[in-house]
Symmetry: C2
Subunit: 214 residues, 2 copies
């Protein structure tokens, strides 16, 4: 398993996650085997890259019939997922936070939002999409009790750094950050930035520019 | 204005959108001026890069007091926004589509979801978050009538390419794609891929790996 080498890159992890989503679709459609070039075509990659990525996973050798879909899914699961699942904390239950609860609830049982937090006392102690909302003061206790090490930041930009500090102090090692600020975090904490507004503004800008687009 | 040169890059557009979000926060806090290094620190950039980006915008010369916040916001608006606003179409009103309606409604009056579409007839002719949902058969007519050239794809992966084809045929020139497939589109159509599940899986993976993270 490549995970033992510790040398797997961010891009490979992202592609394995993408392959899994596509393989789940193929499995639901009844496919038992898939050729590397079929998977590559769906994913917008080359067949050579798909084979290289799956080899990094320790899954070698596609026969003439291609990869066995169920076996490949099991290998990706063994690589990407923590046995028993990983709980995720959500901080910020405004419009974006509620949207994320809607999106992620029930989607990935292995990676579910297990607790939500908000500074607004009127939101605390409520349950939204089967997820309990806590006051911020309970962050550390709840995260320790639930062994949560992954968090989503969906608070306004001016609050994001303080939330990141509190999450890191509570033992969080990975943050998906929806606020448009660059977070300063201790070494060993992984941050991925994702700004949907910026993405939509980019699309709108280049839609107007048309053929000028890069 | 750099827009006249047509040479502005995707990265500059994304950074200008990010600066605007941060400047709006500063303005709301009562700031009238901002130094390039203050904006740079919030955005996680260097002061030199901030100055370069704003010069590309045609906004030169920060005095000792820095940039005037209101003037800078007006310049970014003139650059990024279409006068009179740009309507956005959403295709797919499942969990993710509903989440996006919640997130984008009322957020950016200049760039609002003006029509939603779904293949499920039980969703058509309803109004969700003030947005009318149409059956897919009405896509072309509604987009032409509302002059919509920007769209969001929030459908399952196996349906995404057919939706992209229909959008391009209806005159859409920019697509924000939440499906985990690489879309084939005609020249002149800009596509930005955004997969929240892949991002969260990456964060979860590197949170487990801890110090091995890149």
């Amino acid at each position: 398993m490549a995970s033992k080498t510790g040398a797997i890159s961010e891009r490979v992890v992202a592609r394995l996650s993408q392959y899994r989503r596509l393989l789940n679709v193929l499995a639901a459609e009844g496919a038992t085997h898939v050729l590397s070039r079929e998977l590559a075509s769906l994913a917008g990659r080359t067949a050579a890259q798909v084979r290289r990525d799956l080899m990094a996973l320790g899954y070698a050798g596609s026969s003439a019939r291609g990869y066995e879909v169920a076996g490949l899914l099991a290998s990706i699961r063994a690589f990407l997922d923590q046995p028993g699942g990983q709980g995720v904390a959500l901080v910020g239950v405004g419009n974006l936070g509620k949207a994320l609860l809607t999106h992620f609830t029930g989607r990935r049982p292995n990676l579910a939002i297990a607790a939500a937090f908000d500074t607004d006392p009127s939101k605390a102690n409520r349950t939204i999409n089967q997820c309990r909302v806590w006051a911020m003061g309970h962050l550390k206790d709840v995260l320790k009790a639930k062994k949560i090490r992954v968090a989503i930041i969906a608070v306004p930009p001016e609050a994001a750094q303080a939330v990141a500090d509190a999450l890191a102090a509570a033992g969080v090692r990975g943050i998906l950050n929806f606020a448009p600020v660059r977070l300063r975090v201790p070494e060993g904490v992984y941050v991925e930035d994702l700004d949907m507004t910026v993405s939509l503004e980019k699309v709108a800008y280049f839609a107007r520019r048309g053929a000028d687009a890069p």
